[in-house]
């Protein structure tokens, strides 16, 4: 199995994708996996050439045959998700459990497969990429994340690549748990704000719970030096490796607007040097 490194954050918008794409550009050989299946953005910077697309089916949805339905109300009473309103089903709220179909005395309800997303296998200028898109309103993001990781592992095996770089999603719920289970290193990108620290603590605790070693990058560290110091202390006290502090610089946004990874946009900038040092330290840990 190839070693997996995931870039996560707890709080959204701290720079996960910017750093993931930068590391992809700096890595020698790598498979890239975008596990933010809800709001994937990595493709904007990496412009993948999609080689294969598969439908992702993992759940079911109830449908009512209106001709058979007598509107007795048993389905509505027993649906725990507020989805059954005979003779209609709210497909967005339906979790596909099948309770309504089981209980319907008229056998008017059938469970049908639903497509919850699509899974892509692609090539980029930095190596193969596994990515996906969950359809709006769908659940089961954890299963789709697992599929993205499985596909990345398959490609890595085929090509003899020993490292996979994962761009994760914000939060600590279902997709994040599916992203970090069994990985070798979780890199938390945070910012020196009250909410950045709060969310970093929660996601660091999650990594601890799954016995995943954690490292931290403080983005825009100069926005609040006092909070940056708090983060350093937290890392010291909790055994997290502080990979580096990156200053606020408008060139970060400009690289995104140019749809380039940061090292491509500003190869001689000090931030690119910092990124190179951080990437090599990640290599040392593994």
């Amino acid at each position: 199995m190839a070693t997996e490194i995931a870039i996560i954050s707890g709080k959204g918008g701290t720079g996960k994708t910017t750093f993931s794409a930068a590391f992809a550009a700096l890595a020698e050989t790598i498979v890239i996996a975008d596990c933010d299946v809800d709001a994937p953005d990595m493709h904007i910077l990496l412009q993948p050439d999609v080689k294969q697309t598969l439908e992702f089916q993992s759940s079911k949805v109830a449908t009512i045959d209106k001709d058979l339905c007598t509107e007795c109300g048993i389905c509505s009473e027993n649906c725990r998700f507020g989805a059954a309103h005979a003779p209609e089903i709210n497909a967005i709220a339906c979790e596909g459990c099948g309770v309504c179909a089981y209980l319907c005395p008229e056998k008017a309800i059938t469970m049908k497969d639903r497509v919850s997303g699509i899974l892509h296998s692609s090539e980029t200028r930095f190596g193969p990429m596994s990515h996906a898109k969950l359809l709006p309103g769908e659940g089961n993001s954890g299963k789709l994340v697992t599929d993205v990781r499985r596909q990345a592992q398959e490609v890595a095996k085929e090509r003899g690549i020993d490292r996979i770089l994962i761009d994760g999603s914000p939060g600590i719920g279902c997709p994040v748990i599916a992203t970090v289970t069994g990985i070798s290193l979780g890199v938390i990108v945070t910012e020196p704000t009250m909410s950045g620290i709060h969310d970093m603590n929660r996601v660091a605790e999650l990594l601890g719970r799954f016995r995943v070693p954690a490292a931290v990058i403080v983005n825009k560290y100069d926005l609040n030096l006092e909070n940056t110091e708090k983060i350093r202390k937290y890392c010291d006290e909790n055994g997290l490796l502080l990979l580096g502090n990156v200053p606020f610089d408008s060139s970060m946004t400009k690289s995104m607007v140019a749809a380039k990874t940061y090292p491509e946009y500003a190869p001689n900038h000090e931030i690119t040097d910092l990124m190179r040092i951080m990437w090599s330290r990640i290599g040392d840990i593994l």
Binding site: G13, C97, T253, A259
Partner: protein, 280 residues
């Protein structure tokens, strides 16, 4: 009235907008529905907090009554219950609490017991009633906590909801029943991409909406162009301002130090009410 602040992309300023709008209007219910990473309480200095646990009914099998017939395992769409050769094993974290296993058990060997998956906190800050949920670390399902937060909606009052990022099930759960959606974005390719995604969902739900461009000036004008083309009103632009960013980093809502913005947020509230009436 329910106004929900959402975005596709994380970190665009949802919480900033929700909190500053709530402080400017006053006497509102502020519900933080980003239960994975709630942040509203880091910006509002909460008083006494009342906390309640959120329980999710989870199956417990009476192994003596169980005949290992396998019906529960077969029924469970989530693979949360496994019937082995000697006993039945339940995986509570992946259980969706549909109640199906209990229904199909011919021996009535399954009971449901409440399992703590998170907490709901309530407090009062100035004239704001703040409710926020907190998913227990290691638990995957945010939706039941969001449902519990939304029980605090006040039908007669003004409710402002802070949504989680993305467009998956927790976001839809938050958005449903809203009278108006404020979509906060930033003028960058990521911001635009995720805004377009959120707009698709909002259109499906058929809820009136408008956009706030945060950190205006940092990127390009593609968000504005997108809004013009799609006839989505831009309700407000908050410029990128180091002072606003620094106040946020210290956990201070910027209307408290830059009172001229209160007028802007009150204006925003008036525009929202206007657009809601147009929609009816």
């Amino acid at each position: 009235m329910i106004i929900t602040v959402a975005s596709g992309k994380g970190g665009t300023g949802k919480t900033t907008v929700a909190v500053n709008m709530a402080l400017s209007i006053g006497h509102v219910n502020l519900l933080d529905c980003d239960v994975e990473e709630p942040n509203v309480h880091t910006l509002l200095k909460a008083g006494v907090v009342r906390t309640k646990e959120v329980l999710l009914p989870t199956p417990v099998v009476d192994q003596e009554a169980c005949t290992l017939c396998g019906k529960c395992g077969e029924f469970c769409e989530f693979n949360a219950i496994f019937v082995g050769k000697k006993k039945v094993v339940v995986y509570p974290e992946i259980c969706h609490s549909c109640g199906g296993c209990k229904l199909v058990c011919p021996e009535r060997a399954i009971e449901e017991v409440g399992r703590v998956i998170g907490k709901i906190h309530q407090t009062d800050v100035q004239s704001i009633h703040l409710v926020y949920g907190e998913l227990k670390i290691g638990e995957p399902l945010a939706t039941p906590i969001i449902k519990a937060v939304k029980k605090a909606l006040s039908p007669e009052g003004i409710n402002i909801l802070d949504a989680p990022p993305g467009t998956a099930c927790p976001v839809i759960e938050t958005m449903e029943e809203s009278d108006f959606l404020v979509l906060v974005t930033e003028p960058t390719p990521f911001g635009l991409h995720d805004l377009a995604m959120a707009v698709d969902v909002v259109k499906q739900l058929g809820i009136p909406h408008g956009v706030i461009v945060n950190r205006a000036g940092i990127g390009d004008s593609s968000v504005q162009e997108y809004c013009n083309e799609n006839e989505i009103p831009i309700l407000m632009e908050i410029p990128f301002d180091r002072e606003i960013a620094e106040l946020y980093s210290r956990g201070i809502p910027f209307v408290e130090r830059m009172p001229e913005w209160r007028t802007q947020f009150l204006g925003l509230f008036e525009s929202i009410k206007g657009l809601m009436n147009d929609g009816n």
